[in-house]
Subunit: 200 residues, 2 copies
Amino acid sequence: MALNTQRPLEGQYLEKLQDYYAEHKVIPSYSVLAGLWGVSAKSWVSECVKRFEEAGYLGWTPDRQLKPGKRFFERRVADAPVQAGLPNPAIAEGYDFVSSIDEMVVRVPSKTELIRVKGDSMVEAGIHEGDFLVVEKQHNANVGEIVVAIVDNEFTVKYLGRERNEFVLKPANKAFPVIRPRGRLEIYGVMAGLVRKVFR
Amino acid sequence: MALNTQRPLEGQYLEKLQDYYAEHKVIPSYSVLAGLWGVSAKSWVSECVKRFEEAGYLGWTPDRQLKPGKRFFERRVADAPVQAGLPNPAIAEGYDFVSSIDEMVVRVPSKTELIRVKGDSMVEAGIHEGDFLVVEKQHNANVGEIVVAIVDNEFTVKYLGRERNEFVLKPANKAFPVIRPRGRLEIYGVMAGLVRKVFR
DNA sequence: TAAGGTACCGAACATTCGTTCTGTCATCGG
DNA sequence: CCGATGACAGAACGAATGTTCGGTACCTTA
């Protein structure tokens, strides 16, 4: 099936382009696009590209090269629970859009870094071994925030706490002790988010 | 300055291309590249592209279109713990490469969706209320995977288990019961990742 | 049943693409 | 002082690109 009257721009064409882009990181030429879409006329590709452009899914560089538009990377977000008994759950209520995962979790790209979590001293805060912590680099933090501190030349992820005017690092796991650093506590950054990838 | 003998491939050329790509999300044509680099011969561009290709920064689609290579996006991911006493912790050991959070967690954009988690039936699997589950939509899954199922017209996130030839949904929280669906079990998708945003 | 719209096909065409090959001008080791 | 090497310039060329235009088959709506 192809682009039809009901869902003129949310059809398979865009999805195939997006998957192609995810694989190759480039927008293909019209002839390649024709092959991708299973049509044989470049003129038709040209027509569809115009529509995607008007809808904000595609755009042009200053040199008139086709490129992804603002909405190209947007991803649907569903609230659960949601009505979903229908044959096509996609038409259910409760959807929102997010332009990209990066954008929702990193505010300041130049100060943001990923750190892979080792150990399970923070499991009770939902931070598991192998997770990627999104860290916003800064040297101070508020009590209660989860921080990345440098202790004994190693990164440590802990809650920042305070005990009689001294900062302490509290794990979220009863099996681990509270760390009371002697001297200065060096903070590397604070947790801004978390990303977990499941291997399958 | 341009490509020189000392740093033939890590010079300004690559950086300018990367900046262009970051802005437009496309690799430009050779003539545009020439302009970008401040040179005037496409032949020279062609030469440099070959070198970037050999170094893994550029590649080709099956249709022989120029595209970013594996190393084009490389960005540091720190392992924790890691040596970090130095003035610039970025030079520490233990780095991996990742181009964007989106890319590490979504393989097939057209089948991937975010679902905001409600409730804490999966806390022991590190899935908390308010987290965003990255879901790859598909109708079947393997036992042991975390799936999004449709139960009573609502999305439910649970482990997929099996009890005497019947599929069951197992929570990761002792306070919740195992769900034994009467009749068919409708699977919406399987967990491919998780994203948490910390509000601050 | 006629009119109009939609979803495509196919050919023609000027423009632009990337490649190739030849040429120039510094630099540098010997 | 000389020959090699590297960093580019410039022209030529076939192949591929995207646009335009005319055409067809189907489906609505009136």
